[in-house]
């Protein structure tokens, strides 16, 4: 069983987000980390390969400046190798271009039995890249997967819905997107971290993959303005002295809720 996991590398989410003033895109020039959302996919892939009794987990990522530190985290967890697509021309790429690039990187790895992504990234949260990738690759897909087992040539998945969940079957090869909380991502061991340093990550450009046009030229949208929303004002804040519940009762009475 060979599995490819999409790993997005993003600015540290603990730092407040900011926009580049000229391009209005998210600032991504500092050091990048693996998107938490993708840790679940990496963990799930490692468990599925284990359960299948053989095969390996590979990674694909698209990131600026040849950044691989987030990929190294996934390699330290146990992934074997990766392809990084990095190219100044990719700046400003929309979700569709990202999907085309990742699909081409997946093909460069020779495809896989299963491709895993997160339902949405923490910084962009377009939430369409996995399904767009499936369409580019001509594969079936199961989105919002919260549980999955593989029996031979098909997957059995629980797919989260607005009201509960669906049981879905899907033949391999396929693309799935997974939700947070599906599995508990492991911490890389010291041995894993050392081994990750020597694992191969091939770096390619968009034109190496034959995907054109990309970046601003390929995006079917332009940003016309950025404004501040009207801020909501904070009201009364009180320390509980044991009687604060009465404040809430009074507040609800005033609103005629009780």
């Amino acid at each position: 069983m060979n599995i490819i996991v999409c790993v997005k590398q993003i600015p540290d989410p603990a730092a407040p987000g900011a926009l580049n003033s000229d391009t209005h895109t998210l600032k991504r020039d500092g050091k990048l980390v693996i998107d938490d959302a993708d840790m679940y996919g990496v963990e799930m892939a490692l468990q599925l390969v284990d359960a299948a009794g053989g095969g390996e987990v590979s990674l694909v990522s698209m990131a600026p400046n040849g950044e691989t530190s987030g990929m190294r985290t996934a390699l330290a967890m146990g992934a074997a190798k990766g392809v990084l697509v990095s190219d100044p021309a990719l700046q400003g790429s929309d979700a569709l271009t990202t999907a085309k690039i990742l699909a081409a990187a997946i093909q460069r790895l020779g495809g896989a039995d299963l491709i895993i992504a997160a339902t949405e990234s923490s910084d962009g949260y377009t939430g369409t890249v996995p399904e767009q990738m499936a369409e580019v690759l001509g594969l079936p897909s199961v989105t919002f997967t919260k549980k999955i087992t593989i029996n031979g040539t098909a997957i059995q998945a629980s797919r989260q819905t607005e009201a509960g969940y669906d049981e879905v079957t899907c033949p391999l090869p396929a693309v799935i997107s997974v939700t947070a909380g599906v599995v508990e991502p492991r911490y890389p061991s010291f041995k894993g971290i050392m081994a990750a340093k020597n694992k191969p990550v091939e770096q390619v450009t968009a034109s190496d993959l034959g995907v054109l046009p990309v970046g601003w030229a390929g995006a079917g949208q332009k940003i016309s303005s950025v404004t501040q929303a009207e801020a909501r004002q904070a009201g009364e804040i009180i320390e509980d002295d044991g009687e604060a519940f009465n404040k809430i009762v009074g507040f609800l009475e005033n609103l005629k809720v009780i």
Binding site: T128, E135, G138, F144, A219, I238
Partner: protein, 321 residues
Amino acid sequence: MAIKNVWVFAQTSDGVATTATLELVTKARSLSENVSVFVSGDGAAIAAAVGDFGATKVYAANCGANLPGVAMASAMKSVIDAGESPELIMFPQSYEGRDTMARLSVKLDKTVITNNVDVEDATDGVTVTTPIFGGNTLVTSTFTGSGPHLAAFRPKSFTPEASGGAAAAVTAVVVPDLGVAGGAQVNAVHVEETTGPKLDEANVVVSGGRGLGEADKYAMVEELAKLLQAAPGASRAIVDAGWVPYSYQVGQTGKVVKPSVYIAAGISGATQHMVGMKGSKNIIAINKDKEAPIFGIADLGIVGDVHKVLPKLIEALKARN
């Protein structure tokens, strides 16, 4: 210049058009005289409702056991190829909406813009507005090139208003052969029942977060909700921890709520939580950390321990009944 025609991707619940659908139809009719609805399943069942809100046509495709994304996108593509292309397609920001627009975007080679709260027919083209950084900043983007433009909207972005239109005409659309891409099949549907009012429609919402400490303590939230005829909600932290089902989640990847009162108990107020509840008319927050971001938007903030404040509040409300 008005938009020539707009499609709305409709969602139904028990065969009835959802409020999110009617919100989009309402907005669509302010942009165009030709509003059509695209639905998976029984078109006739929603024809009167969507007609009343301004749609004149319903395209209905039957997905069978296929996941709707790939099937609906193929059905839409076949209508577009037959020459009935809309300029704009509005999707609800829901699972099926997102999947369908993603598949369709590749078939049409068109960009998608998701998470929008507004759309306008501006002089330089169709523009959409997307909140970022928890709704503090609004980004306005313009679609370039020709349509159909694909945009998804967060629930409650528009107010649904009936126009008194006649029932829409229904056209059946055959789902083309999906080939390999259509391999995913739904075998069983599970509904996680909740009692009381629906989370996204309730007048009062009581949500709990990680500050409750442990799963059992969520019972306090449920009890308070019951006393206030409110819907219980949750932050993602406790959904991920398995304390409550996903259908309770409020926020960016959960439900958008705009009740007249929102009570947040033991919730920090992460930006992804706030985008789902910021529109509430009144916000009450209980948190032991006075620096918690939730206090920045609360009308009444109690700096205190949920394990002390909630039981007393529950007792006081019980005493009134």
